[in-house]
Amino acid sequence: MIQEETFDVTVIGAGAAGLAAAAVTAAAGKTTIVIDREDRPGGILRQCIHNGFGLRYFKEELTGPEYAEQAAEKAEKAGANLRLGATVLDMKKEPDGTLLLLVLSPGDGVRKIRSLAVILAMGCRERNRGNLAIPGSRPAGVFTAGAAQKLLNMEGILPGKKAVIVGSGDIGLIMARRLRWSGIKVEAVVEIMPYPAGLTRNIVQCLNDFGIPLYLEHSVVNILGRERVEGVEVAPLKDGIPQTERKFHIDCDTVLFSVGLIPENELSSSVGVALNPSTGGPLVDSGYETGVPGIFAAGNVLHVHDLVDFVSEEAEHAAQMVIRRLNGETAPGGTFPVKVESNLKYVVPNRCRNGQDTRFAFRSLIVTNDAELEAEQNGKIIWKRHYNYIRPAEMIIVDLKAEQLKEEGELTFRLKKGEKI
């Protein structure tokens, strides 16, 4: 017989989101289990050995491993059970409304875990060379930035001697510095957009500090080498099309890809959770509940964040909503839809309820230093704010109070570009 265990709340993933959520539900007296594949809690934070985390959430500047350890301590002190080295193979909704997970681990074998609520906190994966179908050969020496980070920071293995980084996302920038600090040359960072995808402080401290060239509006059009990478060909872009007649060669033995993150929702989809094509994450209401009652989502599995502190905060909000649901204080689903138009890529949540404090997260499609974000409901502008700094790399967060959301009716946010550049 397969052993079955029962908890009030199951959290899938012991990264920043899962640990923060579990700390809240466990502290509220809800029996909580956190399931994670790795042998230690913390998720990807454990390989992010650089500093810059935690100023908001822990009120001190921490490295990834420190943030991970503090978040795990907080969850464990609150009474959450950590089930490590364990993989959720299957999830289904039972006729009685409970959620049943099939979990495999070398420690416990095959287990069924039943709970009243599940918080999805699986994070995201890196988009890779194959997703982009970058042409060329398939030699050794092609890594995603995160995979190279894991080899270097967790195993102490040098992935190469001379690298080119594709994409200027934060992981790629952080890895540029890490490679240089490991004795590895970095020949270039190649970005298809006319502006960097990562934060300015990372451009300054990870590229400019080392004199690493950043090629904006350029694309890698060929990877060379049969056994090990021998170089790449890079071409400038015009209207998004590589100008191959102007391509040039860069000698390298390593190519790292830092070209975006994809929320990891295959498990969510398998149980019927509907996804938002703009985020890759579940469609949720303002209680972070997905379309499947009892299943909540927070952190990078919901939408990709740029600061881990916001991940932890979002997961705490979600956990508070889980507690209210378990206590019978709320019903699932929002009463009206939330939409974005003009210059905004997405909004989370996708439905919300009037008379309830709600956090909205947005991502801009434009770069501007003069913009107004406004919210319209029933033909009236119910809220607006001026911004003098908007970048796609940085999430916009807006907290609206219950009294600002008094009415029902579709809520539309738009970002209006001002006169200044």
């Binding site: 050995i49 990834g64 491993p65 350890e69 270097l152 600090w181």
Partner: protein, 120 residues
């Protein structure tokens, strides 16, 4: 002397222009939207410092390396020296997060501390 910098004290990233004579005398900063920009440029030009993070090989059965950091910013010119020493060191576990690994590196007042707890 002239030099261009990008301020990183906040996300706006002001483009700063610094001009000076001799050994940073008559240092004049422009392009900053707030006083923090001038402070940043002065510090960055006169005495650039960075927090340094790295991993050091260790004898744990769980993981071959343990992450470390400096507990304050280290003068930039000392970074290479510190890293080359760290990679050639070996940590004997157990260690706790916050324990000092190297004290007052090269009289910089910066200690190297562990940023993870490893007990086996």
């Amino acid at each position: 002397m002239k030099k261009e910098l990008i301020c990183i004290r906040c996300p706006i990233g002001c483009r700063l222009s610094a001009e000076w004579k001799g050994d940073f005398e008559e240092l004049n900063i422009s392009g900053n939207r707030c006083p923090r920009g001038a402070e940043y440029a002065k510090q960055e030009l006169r005495d650039p410092r960075r927090i340094v993070t790295a991993v050091v090989p260790c004898n744990s059965v769980l993981q071959p390396c343990i992450p470390v950091r400096t507990d304050r910013e280290l003068p930039k010119h000392l970074i290479d020296r510190l890293l080359n020493i760290l990679y050639r060191s070996r940590v004997e576990i157990p260690v706790r997060k916050g324990d000092i690994f190297i004290e007052n590196f090269e009289n910089s007042n910066a200690n190297v501390i562990f940023s993870s707890t490893i007990t086996r």
